[in-house]
Chain length 109, copies 2
């Protein structure tokens, strides 16, 4: 088990989606994202779409939350879990979510 | 083969690293990141470190470049390629780089 100290975190979720199902995946993901964005502790998210159909990970979500606890509370909602399970069943993608902090940041001068 | 239209892109590189080698990975990655950050077209990067050693992807780079061409030119440098190959040989990680654009963006009200 992992314990988290306080403070903002980044959720990164890396999706394997068949390229021909990517448009449908993004449309259904948007509904779940809008639900999550109304939960306490949500700050921002960006869903990234691969430019090449040959890329292993066709979609990557990078989201900021005020704490790991806030994220876990939002993910525990039954409503959201049912939407996510239904989308996996319909579209057959795999998700790889994990919690991160920024280790190195560089901005162009 | 994938052709890219003009405009800014996001490079996302998802790394599988053994958790006990993560500190060494981040130290060697920093050297390569500093080299890349001096190349034309570089905008910014963030290397994210997983909070749990159980996460599949222990490190994720999210970087902004002015164009896919600028990124490819920077990646073609022999100096950088040799550094990256040496790090893979020493630390045994796998990299999964791909080029993305933002499909959905939501910020808290």
């Amino acid at each position: 088990m992992t314990t988290y100290d306080e403070g903002p975190i980044t959720l990164i979720n890396v999706f394997e989606v068949e390229p021909e199902k990517l448009d449908a995946f993004i449309a259904s993901w948007r509904e779940r994202a809008e639900l999550m964005s109304r939960q306490p502790g949500f700050r921002s998210l960006r869903l990234h779409r691969a430019l090449s159909p040959d890329s292993r990970f066709q979609a990557v979500n990078v989201a900021q939350w005020e704490s790991a606890d806030a994220l876990h509370t939002a993910q525990a909602q039954e409503n959201w879990q049912q939407m996510a399970l239904g989308a996996v069943e319909e579209l057959g993608f795999t998700a790889n979510p994990a919690i991160y902090r920024v280790a190195i940041e560089i901005t162009a001068q």
